[in-house]
């Protein structure tokens, strides 16, 4: 009987040790060998990026010319002053605008420049005296009686990063009045809450946005600009355009200026027999054909099939189409919603490009042999396309009070402060994009266990997080240029990590198939172990009960 019990105990121990080996050795070994490789990722950094608290610092220098400020005020003038303005876009996003204003008197050279005959000359003379820092602004305050600004103009916004404003004279707090005005100028020249909201449109509820916010192209590292001439009727029109010269003289200077924001490539093509998707309506009164605003959305799709996407790059394409209507459909005019003809005869489509209809004067059919040679007036066309290009990049005019005088940006098509405006919004947008990309990557990894993260992908993620943090810090310290560069790097790295093909390598390995393979091994091994464990448990319970019974 004793030998029997010993034998029983040995059997129990053996079963238990089998279970122990399977649990301690087998399970971890199986787990380790079938695990998908995943390098460690900066999850805390990513979740920290999830809530974006932007602090945008604009360094502003206010320079008072001689006589712009009464002596008493001059003594009360602080050396520096900081104003903050916080706006909360959503619980996870807030923007704090911080204006770091320094006040000083004009130096002798600045004084000389401000004494020039015209404000344009003064602007040019003042340029070398300013700090050459992207995003930094200088406001010159001149005496109210100065003749530098024309009559009725209170503020002159120059080509570069400076503005000249007329001081106010009076019994009240001159300084307060001036600083309120400076604030207005600085907002116009850097960013407003609206422009930042537009940039963060993905994170803001739809109803808070205006209609124009969906118009500009998303921030990207590069853009392809394609000018296409559509000639649906080559039998009657032999259309020529000197696009090369037009691009060189109108578009290229503008793009050179934008060169720090993104890479651009420009090309053009002529497409024959490319027709619009809708047939225009004939209007008897004006004996012309009319394309109503309602039918414009249907115009683009059939044309786009012919445009062809860019074969060699993945950047978004901006299309500008010049449409020369067929002989039987000309002249062709675009009507707006109210039924009035559109002056430019052009329209643009948000985040896609623009279309302009170019009508041709037809001489009497018997006079000119077909096809009629047509040379496109490129100045007229490029004016429209350039305006559309500015709109699509989000360089729109800021609504300004009447007494503001804006200097025309010259042949560059873009002034320095407009570029800065673009950089502010683009930097914010880039950081928001990085945050979205990395957060979705983290969520995806959390949800799908089969995604592999290789070391190089992980290093891209680390780099993206670090660059985004740098960009935030640089924004807070007022270095717009370096902040933008850092945000660009962050976008590149995060996109590269998110779209890395190695992420998908093991994605098609569903759990049911995995278990179909493992069951033939697991079932015969697990069943005896489990059964004997159950038996042992039952016996243990019984042996606990038995002493009670014998008592």
């Amino acid at each position: 009987m004793a030998a029997d019990a010993a034998e029983k105990a040995r059997g129990k121990r053996a079963a238990l040790s089998f279970a122990a080996v399977a649990l301690v050795l087998g399970l971890p070994l199986w787990w380790k060998t079938t695990e998908t490789y995943r390098a460690s990722l900066p999850y805390t950094g990513i979740s920290a990026l999830g809530s974006l608290r932007f602090q945008l610092t604009v360094p502003v220098a206010v320079v008072f010319a001689k006589g712009a400020l009464p002596g008493a005020q001059w003594r009360r003038l602080p050396f520096a002053d900081t104003q903050e303005e916080e706006s909360l876009l959503n619980p996870k996003t807030s923007v704090t605008a911080r204006y770091e204003t320094t006040y000083r008197g004009a130096t002798a050279t600045e004084q000389a420049a401000l004494a020039m005959a015209t404000v344009q000359e003064a602007d040019a003379a003042l340029l070398p005296l300013q700090e050459d820092l992207v995003g930094a602004l200088t406001v010159y305050v001149i005496p109210e009686t100065s003749l530098l600004l024309p009559q009725g103009v209170g503020v002159y916004v120059g080509k570069h990063r400076s503005a000249v404003m007329r001081g106010t004279q009076g019994p009240g707090d001159v300084l307060a009045a001036i600083s309120a005005r400076v604030q207005q100028i600085v907002q116009a020249m850097s960013f407003t809450t609206d422009s930042i909201t537009t940039a963060l449109s993905d994170r803001v509820p739809m109803d808070q946005l205006g209609t124009d916010t969906r118009r500009p192209f998303k921030s990207s590292l590069g853009y392809e600009i394609t000018f296409s001439l559509l000639n649906p009727d080559p039998k009657s029109h032999d259309v020529h355009w000197d696009i090369e010269a037009a691009v060189n003289s109108y578009v290229q200077p503008f793009l050179d200026k934008l060169g720090s924001v993104a890479n651009f490539s420009v090309d053009s093509q002529i497409l024959y027999y490319a027709v619009l998707g809708v047939s225009p309506r004939f209007d008897k009164a004006s004996s012309s054909f009319i394309l109503s605003a309602l039918s414009l959305p249907h115009v683009i799709n059939p044309v786009e099939a012919r445009l062809g996407s860019s074969a060699t790059s993945l950047y978004p394409v901006l299309n500008f189409l010049l449409y020369v209507p067929e002989r039987v459909h000309s002249p062709l005019y675009i009507q707006d919603k109210d039924g009035a003809a559109v002056g430019t005869n052009a329209f643009h489509s948000p985040r896609w490009g623009g279309i302009m209809v170019y009508n041709i004067d037809h001489p009497a059919p018997d006079k000119a042999p077909l096809p009629l040679r047509v040379d496109v007036d490129m100045v007229r066309v490029m004016e429209v396309f350039l305006a559309q290009l500015r709109l699509l990049f989000g360089i729109s005019q800021v609504p300004l009070p009447e007494e503001f005088l804006l200097e025309s940006p010259g042949n560059k098509g873009l002034s320095d402060w407009e570029l800065d405006r673009l950089l502010w919004t683009r930097t914010v947008e880039n950081i928001a994009t990085v945050s979205t990309t990395l957060t979705s990557l983290a969520q995806l990894l959390d949800k799908i266990g089969n995604i592999v993260i290789k070391d190089d992908v992980a290093s891209e993620v680390y780099h993206a997080v670090a660059s985004a943090q740098t960009a935030m810090l640089e924004l807070a310290s007022g270095h717009l240029g370096s902040a933008f560069q850092a945000s660009k790097e962050a976008v590149t790295s995060s996109e590269r990590a998110f779209f890395d093909p190695s992420l998908l390598h093991l994605l098609y390995f569903p759990d049911d198939q995995k278990f179909a393979i493992y069951i033939p091994l697991f079932l015969p091994m697990a069943v005896p172990i489990l059964l004997s464990l159950v038996k042992i448990l039952r016996e243990a319970k019984q042996s606990k009960k038995e002493p009670m019974k014998t008592d």
Binding site: P234, E244, S268, Y272, G308
Partner: protein, 577 residues
């Protein structure tokens, strides 16, 4: 005013001014259709569209396209391509019965590209280029990788202007499995300036084109001389499409045909952008065997040209001449045979070849290639290029070349052995073909076992071996004089002719289909199940042995059988067990 400008421009070009960037780059388009009755009674229609652009594509910055398609232009300037030749073919050109083709292409997809010498990483550029082309033409060119790409040393020379012939800049690949269909034709048609809206391209109706014995479409891009002095470069894009119609089945047993019968369309106008738009009909047999056939409407002119070593006569319809559409609004070229053609002399072409796999079993095999030279008295050399995938392991020591029962030693041989899963075999040979002879080339191979993931979805269909390529300068029957290439019909001018006495021919043999030993594909799962079972059985008995407790059993009343036996015994009156 414009005329004066053009005159000034012309003057500048005449002077050969290098800074001739005064006007926009000129470009021109020529289109032509060649209809040639084949000796077998079928009809071959060859379309050629040539866009020529007097511009330098390899420059930085802005690019402006007119007739030249933007997609291809960007490709060339981005990847620094010197020459690009892509063909997509359905069916096989039967050289023996159809004669020498004007443009031959292997079945499936073929791509060969010469890069500029400024390209640093040719393999990377080749990979990206083939991926982009695959997108443009909706073809599976993305399957081109190092296992089917070769760098031939002698077979493929640049067809255009080239001063670099370093073959390391060349890449060549064939995908014999590729099936060509409408989805490949549509993007090809889109590259034409007139699309399929006007000109000869109106005839390209997919449902007719693919209802044929042979369909081959190609794109050839190459730099050519801008003028006779050849000081500057122009780019030429040639889009060609060859289709062979079986006239017997279409025309109810008659060999007569018309444009409408074949394409179910007629030509109404030339493409307004084309500077030349012509239809050529091969009527050579008319002159030979007087008045055998008749073409209507009457051709406006007749063109005689030496083509492929033979003098041929073509009826020419110039779509740009106003008199053509005077009588009727559309042109429907018709050809009628006056006498029923029973005995057609199938004049076999000078050079043709055939290839097959022999051997039995799934271990070894033999590839045999037969090359025929039917020229009565001239011998000529031919370059043979064989590309064999790595899973057929060639034994080069078994290479035997025999002509007329004697061994024929190749005068040049270049062999690059395969590397498993990395690159294919490449075998190039220069073989002298004696007059009126058959040369047989055999080489043995062993079939490799693939990994189970490397098999195609239908492994029992077999694995394709790409066609071998024969390039030769074939002596011509008649003397040809060198003419200005610009004036010639397009179909004569893609391949350069070295001198008057011979002409260049490139032939492709049949692609081969080889069966590889295919495993049972449920095998991995079976193996898993079997091993698991074995493991489970061993483990189970081991476990049993270790955990079972043995104790002496008291004799008991026994089981069911014993009790049953006892009941029976009781009934019988026998003492129980």
């Amino acid at each position: 005013m414009a005329g004066a400008g053009a005159a000034v421009l012309g003057l500048l070009l005449l002077l050969g001014s290098p800074g001739g960037s005064t006007g926009p780059p000129r470009d021109s388009l020529r289109e032509e259709l060649l209809l040639s009755p084949l000796p077998s009674g079928d009809l071959a229609a060859t379309f050629q569209f040539r866009a020529r652009w007097d511009s330098e594509l390899h420059r930085e910055g802005v690019s402006h396209y007119r007739l030249f398609p933007k997609a291809l232009g960007q490709l060339i300037s981005k990847y620094l391509v010197r020459e690009l030749h892509l063909s997509l073919t359905q069916g096989f050109w039967r050289t023996r019965t159809w004669g020498q083709p004007y443009l031959q292409a292997p079945a499936g997809a073929e791509l060969w590209v010469w890069f500029q010498d400024s390209v640093t990483d040719v393999d990377k550029a080749w990979k990206e280029l083939s991926n982009i082309l695959s997108g443009i033409f909706c073809a599976s060119l993305n399957f081109i990788d190092s296992t089917n790409t070769v760098t031939p040393t002698a077979s493929f020379k640049p067809l255009g202007l080239a001063n670099v012939t370093d073959h390391h800049l060349l890449r060549y690949a064939v995908l014999p499995r590729e099936v060509v269909c409408t989805e490949n034709l549509t993007p090809w048609k889109k590259l034409l300036p007139c699309g399929s809206k006007a000109g000869l391209a109106v005839l390209l109706k997919a449902e007719r084109l693919f209802h044929s014995s042979y369909h081959s479409q190609a794109v050839h891009i190459r730099p050519i001389c801008r003028d006779a002095s050849c000081l500057s470069v122009s780019w030429e894009l040639r889009q060609t499409l060859t289709v062979v119609f079986d006239t017997f089945s279409v025309g109810q047993g008659k060999r007569d045909w018309s444009l409408f019968k074949m394409f179910s369309r007629t030509v109404t106008e030339a493409c307004p952008l084309a500077s030349e738009s012509k239809i050529y009909v091969d009527i050579s047999s008319k002159t030979q065997e007087n008045e055998l056939l008749e073409v209507t409407p009457l051709p406006l002119s007749v063109h005689e040209a030496p083509v492929q070593g033979d003098r041929r006569t073509y009826a020419v319809y110039d779509l740009l001449s106003p008199s053509l559409f005077n009588v009727s609004r559309s042109l429907n070229v018709q050809l009628k045979w006056k006498r029923p053609q029973d005995s057609l002399d199938l004049s076999t072409p000078v050079l043709h070849a055939q290839r097959y796999v022999s051997g039995y079993g799934l271990q070894t095999g033999e590839i045999s290639t037969l090359i025929y030279n039917t020229h009565p008295y001239r011998a000529f050399p031919v370059i043979l290029l064989e590309t064999v995938p790595w899973y057929l392991r060639l034994y080069v020591h078994t290479l035997v070349i025999t002509t007329k029962g004697k061994e024929n030693k190749p005068s040049y041989i270049h062999y690059q052995p395969a590397q498993d899963r990395r690159r294919p075999h490449l075998l190039e040979m220069l073989i002298q073909l004696p007059a009126n002879s058959v040369t047989k080339i055999t080489i043995q191979f062993e079939r490799a076992l693939l990994k189970w993931t490397e098999y195609t979805p239908d492994p029992n269909h077999g694995f394709y071996v790409s066609p071998s390529v024969l390039s030769a300068l074939v002596p011509s029957v008649i003397a040809m004089k060198a003419e200005d290439a610009e004036q010639n019909p397009l179909f004569t001018s893609l391949f350069p002719s070295s001198d008057g006495s011979s002409y260049f021919v490139r032939l492709y043999t049949e692609p081969l289909l080889v069966n590889l030993p295919t495993p049972d594909f449920s095998m991995p799962y079976n193996v898993i199940c079997l091993t698991c079972t074995v493991v489970a059985v061993c483990y189970g008995s081991f476990y049993n042995l270790l955990t079972r407790t043995f104790h002496v059993e008291e004799p008991s009343r026994g089981g069911l059988a014993k009790r049953l036996a006892n009941i029976i015994r009781k009934v019988r009156g026998v003492p129980p067990l």
